[in-house]
Symmetry: C2
Subunit: 332 residues, 2 copies
């Protein structure tokens, strides 16, 4: 995928191919570039400051080639600037790992993407403005709040169900980052004191209860993926139903706990497993209602994520808009 | 206890009884009054804006007499003003229940202190400035951050071990309140999916694992109080040791979870059970080190609270200092 502008809506396509006479007389439209660095590809979105997506990009890189991730981002930024007739007004970036205290780099990311830790992106890309850097889960939550499932919400949790279980939280309108930037790692919450430890040493964590990483153990070796487990459950396999509903109940008790700790109005559920739709959301909502302490009649809203794999890019863009680039700290 | 000024330090006593010639020529010292409404008494502290305690008060009231809590506070405010030669510059209040969205009253407090819900304290006390109102656990955390065990910290959790397990959290320098004001209810976090539900419907919660409310169940009827359980443990009773260390391990896994969710640098442990000292803190720190995801070499600090029963009053005072009384919302 060399030319990788993707997923534009029909309306956006029309706008791109048939500029109105008035638009063609104007200067190129100012845009902000949100970049989300993944494990083997870079997602990016060029958006207006009000959140209208002008173009999306999905650029693969070779994770084994040292700094290929960074060179791919450098080429992408140049190409977007050339295509749009001007450089981005601002750039925001999200990446795996924990963001540095000053929000200019990733400070902690063991084992992957060598060269990422400590890389100051505004220096690497030689941009006139500072580039704020966010943890990828934090960015995905900001994206969903700005343009996705949690629009106009100020108290939000996001839980991403994949191989592991990721998370992020916003309370009273502020993204939680914490002392070292690890706040929001909701997947590493204990739900079983005697359970096996997860990758962060936490016994019987939410990640062990519903992450794809433990599907074999949970199903006594019967299933290789949660997708297969859910398919068997939907087809009426009683043992699959027992295993799946146990995992859903664990997620519900975790959401009930997060509700007491963080008091969100909405829980946004993303990641591959969330695509199960009603097979996840129906029993999940039912189970949450049993364990939550309701301080409003309807209880916490539980909804699927809307922005899919571009949530982090939207969040990185919004972060660049929200942050004062002349500030000492690019966190807020 | 009619005249109830208590607990002044020797230095404070000297200052009160022997005013220096210079001080006596000055106007009475400006002070802020922090008031903490409990279940059967009112604690209060008159402090300078920099946090120096000028006087402490502990005034009992009759919880069965309607509005006696409020009349007691009214008398106390008048008396402190008369004693100090001027009214308080500002007043802050903390109380059980959830604070209203605008921070002017308690919005939610079922079953106790009739008349508290919806009472606008600045109207009731006819003060010129608005009176910000906080949940009592939130206030205790602010107190410990201002003048107690968590001074100069921005990422803090506080856990209060008593009949129940209370809590509060500050992240990135901001007290978490959440959508309905219930953020920080750390005691109602699930640690055992199959455990009995607590008062908030949460199965196997931290409160059920270490709160005094479940001591009989946890000890198969042997102990009436956690104090007795710990005394037996210290005396070498093996069964008591097993029960106690199981509870401590549960608290440790909860702190490990809070560390991943909120990323605090310090956990302040208060409440009656925290007075156990080394019998609590030694095994607790050891167990936390086993389950925490360390992003700094030393891990989360775990310390006893310092302000005891006056933490809420200090926090209420600091809240009154931090808050702009002309703002629409008295929350920040």
């Amino acid at each position: 995928m060399r030319k990788s502008e993707v997923s534009r809506s029909a309306k956006e396509e029309r706008a791109a191919s048939c500029p109105s006479p008035r638009a063609s007389r104007l200067a190129p439209r100012a845009y902000v570039l949100g970049i989300d660095l993944g494990g083997s590809s870079v997602k990016a979105v060029a958006v207006t400051p009000s959140g209208r997506a002008l173009a999306r990009f999905n650029e693969p890189f070779d994770p084994k080639r040292r700094m290929d991730f960074a060179e791919t981002i450098r080429r992408l930024v140049r190409r977007v600037g050339a295509e749009r007739g001007q450089p981005a007004q601002r750039i925001g970036l999200s990446a795996p790992g924990l963001a540095a205290k000053d929000g200019r780099s990733i400070a902690f990311m063991p084992g992957r993407l060598r060269g990422l830790v400590g890389l100051i992106w505004s220096e690497f890309l030689r941009t006139p403005s500072a580039i704020p850097v966010l943890n990828d889960a934090h960015a995905a939550l900001l994206g969903e709040v700005w343009q996705g499932a949690a629009r106009r919400c100020e108290n939000v949790i996001m839980i991403t169900l994949g191989t592991g279980v990721g998370g992020a939280a916003m309370v009273d309108g502020r993204l939680l980052q914490g002392r070292s930037g690890k706040a929001g790692h909701l997947g590493h919450t204990c739900l079983d004191l005697d359970g096996p430890p997860d990758v962060c040493h936490m016994p019987g964590s939410l990640e062990m209860a519903i992450g794809n990483c433990s599907i074999r153990e949970r199903s006594a070796g019967r299933f290789e993926t949660t997708h297969d487990l859910i398919a068997a459950h939907v087809a009426g396999d009683e043992e699959a139903t027992r295993v799946w509903l146990k995992s859903v109940k664990a997620l519900a008790s975790a959401i009930g706990s997060f509700s007491n700790i963080l008091d969100p109005e909405i829980a946004v559920i993303g990641g591959g497993i969330a695509r199960a739709g009603a097979a996840l959301f129906e029993p999940l909502v039912r189970s949450v209602r049993e364990v939550e302490w309701k301080t409003n009649p309807s209880g916490i809203k539980i909804v699927p994520a809307e922005l899919g794999e571009f949530a982090g890019a939207f969040g990185a863009a919004w972060n660049a808009i929200r942050i004062d680039p002349t500030s000492d700290s690019l966190k807020r």
